[in-house]
């Protein structure tokens, strides 16, 4: 009953952060060769890079994923604006193909490579060593890589703490139910290891400390499992007040379980708080519209993907030009129903990039 995490653009943050644990299943979308995203991407085997500015090559490994253009287009624009050519891989979820992409980049003598190792670091270690020897700057995407000169990572812990703070703020100031009777749910996904526990541990710790109540826990990173898990937990405790998902997809499932109860008056909207992490488009859309039924989908800890895209160009170029730090920690932004316009703006940006 494994969830093919990486195949789901719905699980944005996980896709980005958990390549190492979900890599094997990424081939599930490899057949989507004709995805719109890669159609205008410069093929990896195109002509040699412009000598004056140099070139940045990006191997995302799963170029047919729906979110890819949201990252790749801003990256390409940023590289261009700084006088660099931007090259893209076309592995589409295939481990061997990603190594080939990287070999091509080395042969073309690109200036820098940014790589998300979709099948873990082992398969790409030799080719990255070769690239290093050829004097190419190497940046890991979502995790540090061997021979790397730098890495783009996410502030998972800080982001989780910020989301927990928002939840606690709601509990303290807006929750209208009986605080003695407060109960909450945390969706986890332990099989992916640290990148996941970096999200769930701080949330569990902070909210437990603030409310004095330990969460019910269930495993979910998808809408349907999130719905089923909450339905079952509501049998155990019909007065659950809060659900925090390790990602938005699971939280959206919890929302689907609660929305009918709010609608038919079984539950009071002011006693309910649902939130997830990632900044998945559907979650942001819901927040932009006021949080859905009764406004209960209140927040998402969002990675701003176009910022991430710009970093894909900026970090290697900064390293090449000898400026700035070698590691870029991308922050999460807590997007809430208090500022639906912000959610709308992000969604609009994403939509314009995927058009």
């Amino acid at each position: 009953m494994r969830k093919s995490v990486i195949a789901a653009p719905a699980v944005i943050g996980l896709v980005l952060a958990l390549a190492a644990c979900g890599g094997g299943s990424s081939s599930s979308s490899s057949s989507a060769e004709a995805a719109p995203a890669s159609s205008e991407a410069a093929p990896a085997s195109s002509e040699a890079p412009a000598t004056e500015g140099g070139s940045v090559a990006f191997s995302y490994g799963n170029e047919s994923a729906g979110i890819y253009p949201i990252v790749a287009k801003p990256a390409a624009a940023q590289a261009e604006s700084r006088g660099f050519e931007f090259l893209e891989g076309s592995a589409n979820g295939d481990c061997d193909k990603q190594v080939q992409d990287l070999e091509n980049f080395v042969t073309q003598q690109v200036s820098a490579i940014v790589v998300l190792p979709i099948c873990g670091v082992e398969p790409v270690t030799p080719v990255l060593a070769m690239a290093k020897e050829a004097g190419i700057t190497i940046v890991g995407y979502s995790q540090p890589v061997p021979s790397g000169d730098g890495a783009i990572v996410y502030q998972n812990v800080a982001g989780a703490e910020a989301l927990a703070a928002n939840a606690i703020d709601w509990y303290t100031n807006e929750f209208t139910g009986d605080k003695e009777d407060f109960s909450w749910v945390l969706y986890t996904y332990d099989q992916c290891g640290q990148p996941c526990t970096d999200r769930t541990d701080p949330i569990r710790a902070a909210i437990t400390a603030a409310t004095g109540v330990e969460p019910y826990e269930a495993e979910s990173v998808a809408e349907d499992t999130g719905q089923k898990a909450l339905e079952t937990l509501l049998q155990k405790d019909p007065s659950i007040d809060m659900v925090i998902g390790i990602n938005d997809a699971g939280a959206l499932g919890a929302y689907a379980a609660l929305a009918p109860l709010v609608k038919d008056g079984t539950r009071e909207a002011s006693e309910l708080y649902v939130a997830g992490m990632d900044g998945q488009t559907e979650a942001l859309e819901l927040i932009a519209e006021g949080g859905g039924e009764g406004g209960i989908y209140r927040a998402s800890g969002a990675l701003i993907l176009d910022d991430l895209g710009r970093a894909v160009a900026d970090l290697p170029i900064d390293i090449l030009q000898g400026q700035g730090a070698s590691t870029l920690e991308l922050p999460y932004e807590i997007v809430t129903t208090a500022d639906p316009a912000r959610a709308r703006a992000i969604v609009d940006t994403y939509n314009s990039l995927t058009q």
Binding site: M1, R2, K3, S4, A7, A8, P9, A10, V11, S27, S28, S29, S30, S31, A32, A34, A35, P36, S64, A65, G66, I67, T188, D190, Q191, Y216, E217, A218, E219, A222, E223, D224, Q227, K228, A229, E231, T232, L233, Q235, K236, A249, L252, G253, A256, A259, P260, T281, E282, T354
Partner: protein, 336 residues
Amino acid sequence: MSTTQAFTGVGIEAEPLRQRLPLWLLRNGIVVALLVEILFFWSQSEKFMTVSNIRLVFLQVAIVGIIAVPVAFLLMSGYIDFSMGSVLGFTAAIIGMTLDGGSSVLVAIGAGILAGAAVGALQGAMSTKLTFSPIIVTLGFFVGVQGLTFVITDGKMRSGFPEAFTAIGQGRTLGIPNPVLIMLAVFALGWIVHTRTRWGRYTVALGVNAEAAHRAGISKTRIPFWIYVAVGVASAVAGLIAASRLDATPPTLGDGTEIEVLAAVLLGGVSFGGGRGSLIGVLAGVLFIGLLNNGLILLGAPPFWVRVSSGVALVVAAGLTALAIYIEKKKQGTST
């Protein structure tokens, strides 16, 4: 061999219950396991045996149960399918996009079911008439159809469907959730077809001894082809229910469903390689997994235990089936 005695006429009665029951229980060990499971959770949690919880478990297993019926036939006939989850997601996506485009609920449902039937027919034709390896064909569809779902949806979820649509999955008739009624109807139909019609008989015959069935004039490909179509249609109905219940069609919908379905069917005593199995066992298998997930959450077991115990249950089921076959063989040996 001891037929030297005088001819006395052929019996027409079934063997006495006391001879058949042990064999039936051996083959349907899952029914006993299900009872034990229910008693266990009942003794451990007072929330377990409540009307609303049992109703919920039936509701939650409806999707797996609906697909499990034709898949049981498929295994009985000696074939296999791994693509049900992908087809579920694909048909749900088609329904979601059709509704999103402003079509009526009936048109959307029709489009989804037609798509499911078409995918089933394609796999069926390849696996039976064209004699491709069913394992490879359906694994290919498992991957390919999932990819296709992302292509047609652009990876985007559709949501906010008309009430007439969400009522299918969320509504109740006579107090029973509609998906449960649909599942029970599918099981009843499956049971009738399996035990009362020639088609069920031919399915079993093909699985037990395809050559003998062929020599009796039964086509080796015709029935399995239509079972593949039925699996596609059932996956579409399950996709329709999932989309209606969620009021959304995420492109990942249905991920992992194929494993749950196969686990339930195998737990139910249907074996790979064909022939064996009953629909009652399959229903018990479906409920066993549903109650396991439900009960462990109610007990507050750590999430990974749900997966560990599903795995253990499956391995135990495989052992039970092997034991049943062993004991039957032994009995047979002594009777000749």
